[in-house]
């Protein structure tokens, strides 16, 4: 399959390895991965703050970048949610509403794509370690992703998955919320990190880099030895 | 006096005029199927209740006892009378309240205590100082482990809630599977002339307002005893 890679802006700038991991896994499975260099940002930050006209400017760049794509795959529950769930709302009544809906229909989050579209649950990965999984809220509640990362992780050789009690509790990132309401965001991060530490896991894994930025930010500040990795990085490991 | 009424009605009309809201995302076909199978859609989703009386009584027993209701199945009215006498002795009852009703009249035969009767009115302080209130009920609801009372079946509004111990006497034939059935019963019995008060009582009074710790007898009765005559 010819798969168009969707690289969210902060993955592009902060965590390019996550995008490379997606490429590696998909190519290992025999697919053709293309990257449209016309991408910038899906438009979520202004959208979340209520500036929908400004969000549409960014979103149109994304739509243009994927105009000729057959299928679009990205390693971020929140950014894929922006396209799949919110582009139809954002472009309601706009001249390009139909294109927005079409892009929404052909875009997938990485783990969901592997399991639900490709029907793959074992990508031949190997990773020694005890990990716990954080369910990013957008992926969980907007896209319904819960079992997919877990079935993929279950097939990673050497990996032990232990669930944390607050797996489904928001880490507190929420985009600009993290700085606009920093004390609350911090408190939520504390709850999440405490739950991670309680599991005794050596690595926390998520399907959303923005969540990882929040979690990692606190773990590192507290000098914790717990590492953090994106699901794609685990799946790309051999 | 009616000024507010027209203001609000006009606001409502304006708000809804040519202004449809999206329907909730639900599965309508599921709901239609539910109505076909169960008569009332909610029966497909609410907790299941067995179809036979013995199953329903067992379910009632399980749930009500979990809620600290003292539930006794007795074969005859005489056995119920004995139980009541035991409760009175153990509780040191000096005065009880009740109302005129086929089941309560039978139950109270032979009990040697002053009885404040409520059906023709009563003094509140009289009722307040009773140790127990003895009433009938409309129906018992298996699905919730609760008892439905009304003005007629429980001697008014306060008899079943003011005294600290509420005793209900009922017949097994009064058991219904669920709330839907309870409402149907009430409609059949009263037509459009509903009593001004009816209540589902599901256990003794309780509160969790202090540190979420369960305490019984917050304001209503601390004890609820249900005597079910199965003959």
């Amino acid at each position: 399959m010819r798969i168009s890679l969707f690289v969210p802006c902060f993955v592009d700038q902060l965590y390019p390895n996550v995008a490379w991991s997606v490429v590696r896994v998909l190519e290992r499975l025999g697919h053709d991965v293309v990257f449209s260099e016309g991408q910038s940002c899906c438009g979520q930050p202004p959208f979340n703050s209520g500036y929908w006209e400004e969000a549409r400017s960014a979103a149109r760049v994304t739509m243009k970048a994927f105009r000729d794509a057959e299928v679009v795959v990205g390693p971020s529950g929140s950014c894929v949610t922006m396209i799949k769930v919110f582009y139809p709302d954002l472009f309601k009544g706009e001249p390009d509403e139909l294109e927005a809906r079409e892009l929404a229909a052909k875009t997938h989050e990485f783990s969901s794509f592997l399991v639900n579209v490709l029907g793959v649950t074992d990508v031949g990965a190997k990773f020694d370690g005890k990990i716990t999984f954080h369910d990013g809220c957008h992926g969980l509640r907007e896209l319904g992703i819960k079992g997919e990362p877990r079935v993929l992780l279950a097939n990673v050789k050497g990996l032990e998955l232990v669930e944390m009690s607050e797996a489904e509790t928001c880490c507190g990132f929420g985009g600009t919320f993290a700085v606009k309401y920093a004390p609350i965001s911090t408190a939520m991060d504390e709850v999440k990190c405490a739950s991670i530490l309680q599991t005794g896991a050596d690595t926390v894994v998520s399907n959303d880099s923005s969540c990882l930025m929040q979690i990692r930010g606190m773990l590192e500040k507290e000098g914790s030895a717990v590492k953090s990795l994106h699901l794609a990085e685990i799946l790309a490991s051999k | 006096m009616n000024g507010g009424r027209s203001i609000i009605l006009n606001r409502i009309r304006e708000a809804l005029r040519n202004n449809p809201a999206p329907r909730p995302h639900t599965s309508n076909s599921q709901a239609d199927a539910a109505v076909e199978t169960h008569g009332h859609a909610q029966r497909a989703w609410l907790p299941q209740v067995g179809a036979t009386l013995p199953e329903q009584i067992d379910l009632f027993a399980k749930i009500s006892e979990g809620l600290r209701t003292e539930f006794h199945r007795v074969p005859t009215i005489a056995a119920a009378q004995d139980l009541l006498k035991q409760l009175a002795a153990a509780g040191g009852w000096k005065k009880i309240a009740s109302h005129s009703h086929h089941d309560t009249d039978a139950l109270l035969q032979g009990i040697d205590l002053p009885v404040v009767r409520t059906e023709k009115g009563y003094a509140v302080d009289d009722l307040e100082s009773c140790d127990a209130g003895v009433t009938g009920c409309e129906v018992l609801v298996a699905q919730t482990g609760g008892v439905m009372v009304s003005v007629e079946s429980a001697g008014g509004r306060a008899l079943s809630v003011l005294p600290p111990h509420h005793v209900v006497i009922a017949q097994a034939s009064q058991m219904v599977p669920d709330l839907t059935a309870a409402f149907e019963c009430v409609k059949n019995r009263y037509g459009k002339n509903f009593p001004s008060f009816m209540s589902f009582i599901t256990g003794p009074s309780r509160t969790g307002d202090i540190e979420r710790i369960l305490v019984l007898g917050a304001h209503g009765p601390k004890r609820l005893t249900v005597l079910l005559i199965e003959d």
Partner: protein, 468 residues
């Protein structure tokens, strides 16, 4: 920044810093989660029940006039008086009038958040009426001169020690902090009040159009006593509380109990069809229904968010909200807190002053997932943000996002700007954590990641372009 928004920030800072408080709230909710899940699993299909509940509320709210008129007609035929209050002031004045005309001196109340909304107690006390809250949690916060902390659990933030101190100080009771004994102290105080009060004021969980009844859900029995013994009963309800049919209660009562309190059914669910009828031995001589608008019709007019009027005030959304759990009920500074409060308060009290409640959320969606009537809560927060940005944009945000949209609208500019960012990031390192640090809202508690030496764009270009 509007005062309310500033107050929110101040209070949220205070409460989130109090780890003991946060742990206490978390513990208080722990038992609820367990019992809620048990009861949900007893349902044959909880999701099917939610669908039916959502449909029923849709029908009721979108045909509000029809059902309100049917309700009014039926309950009036039974001797109740129905007063339509367009706003809080009208509701307060009516209730005051009824109290004065009937020589009322002492008033007993059961739990009603609607009365909090219209500040009824203050108005009654100013006019010299004695007002007693009979619900234990409400009574406790009344004695403390505080507002309720939570829609359903008014005193969940207080320890038994605090309650014990309160009772000793206000009631002269003995020194005990046993919950059972404290409850009995309140019970004894209230028993006299029920017997003596001339007026009982209650809320209403549901108003049934078909049979002209109001339905009240409770555990303590205080609402039953409030509405049985005093000779006047005033029932307060928002106009949106009406349900079409009596049998709708067979769905809503168990769902309210499960979502709101983790119970199969609450202890007492009572339907009232008017004042005492002829031949009945007790009950109030007069029943007054006060239907309150107070800007609910403005929410009704917002078709996008109209489903928020389906709220049954169960509190389930508060119980799962990570914001609520970490800042508590008082931070919201208004009657209705948590997710539902954050959605409706901009409508009921003004977008400009209250839109910050809709901004103070990470949009995790746990609320929407928990809502028994499927209100699209977290999406309504987004819509309020959009409406707020249109009506009263924050100038700094507007400029920032204008710049953002220029940058992101031109991929080449985006790549250039982020390239610049790499040059400036070391400078941020110099001021990290100080007042000069533009990222200090983040870096105060979390490490901020460094920009990767090269972006994915640049790496792909280098490795892959021209390959195919």
């Amino acid at each position: 920044m509007a005062t309310q928004a500033a107050d929110f920030q101040t209070l949220s800072r205070r409460y989130t810093a109090d780890k003991g408080f946060r742990a206490f709230i978390q513990k208080a909710l722990g038992g609820y989660y367990k019992k809620r899940d048990e009861n949900k699993s007893n349902f044959q299909d909880w999701q099917g029940a939610r669908d039916l509940a959502a449909e029923t509320k849709y029908e009721a709210v979108n045909h509000l006039e029809k059902y309100l008129l049917e309700f009014e007609q039926k309950i009036t035929a039974r001797g109740a008086k129905v007063f339509w209050a367009p706003n809080a002031e009208a509701a307060r004045e009516y209730i005051l009038k009824v109290a004065k005309e009937n020589g009322v001196r002492s008033i007993i109340k059961s739990k009603t958040m609607t009365s909090e909304e219209i500040h009824l107690n203050d108005a009654l006390e100013k006019e010299g009426f004695g007002v007693f809250e009979s619900d234990l949690g409400e009574y406790i916060v009344q004695l403390r001169k505080e507002a309720p902390f939570h829609l359903v659990f008014p005193a969940m933030h207080l320890t038994r020690g605090q309650i014990s101190d309160l009772f000793q100080k206000e009631l002269g009771s003995g020194a005990t902090d046993e919950p059972e004994e404290l409850t009995m102290i309140a019970r004894d105080v209230m028993r006299r009040k029920y017997c003596e009060a001339e007026m009982g004021i209650s809320g209403t969980n549901f108003a049934v159009a078909e049979t002209g009844m109001i339905s009240i859900t409770e555990n303590e029995g205080n609402a039953r006593l409030t509405t049985s013994l005093p000779r006047i009963h005033v029932a307060l309800l928002g106009i949106e509380k009406v349900l079409p049919k009596l049998e709708d209660l067979s769905l809503f009562l168990p769902m309210l109990a499960t979502a709101g309190a983790g119970q199969t059914m609450t202890c007492y669910n009572t339907m009232y069809a008017g004042p005492r009828q002829s031949g009945e031995p007790d009950g109030p001589e007069q029943m007054h229904i006060v239907l309150l608008d107070n800007r609910r019709t403005e929410l009704l007019a917002d078709a996008e968010q109209r489903d928020a009027l389906g709220c049954i005030r169960c509190g389930a959304c508060l119980n799962v909200c990570p914001i609520f759990k970490n800042v508590g009920g008082y931070t919201y500074g208004t009657t209705y807190g948590g997710p539902i409060g954050s959605v409706i308060t901009p409508h009921l009290r003004g977008l400009k002053d209250w839109k910050h409640l809709s901004a103070a959320s990470s949009l995790c969606g746990a609320c929407t997932e928990a809502c028994p009537v499927k209100i699209d809560l977290h999406h309504h927060l987004l819509q309020n943000r959009r409406n707020g940005a249109k009506a009263a944009p924050n100038p700094i945000e507007k400029i920032t996002f204008a710049g953002f949209s220029v940058m992101m609208g031109r991929p080449a500019l985006y790549r250039f700007a982020t390239g610049l960012g790499r040059i400036f990031q070391p400078l941020q390192g110099l001021v990290n954590g100080t007042i000069f640090d533009p990222l200090r809202a983040w870096t105060g508690s979390r490490k901020f990641p460094k920009l990767a030496p090269t972006s994915f764009h640049e790496q792909w270009k280098k490795e892959r372009r021209g390959r195919k």
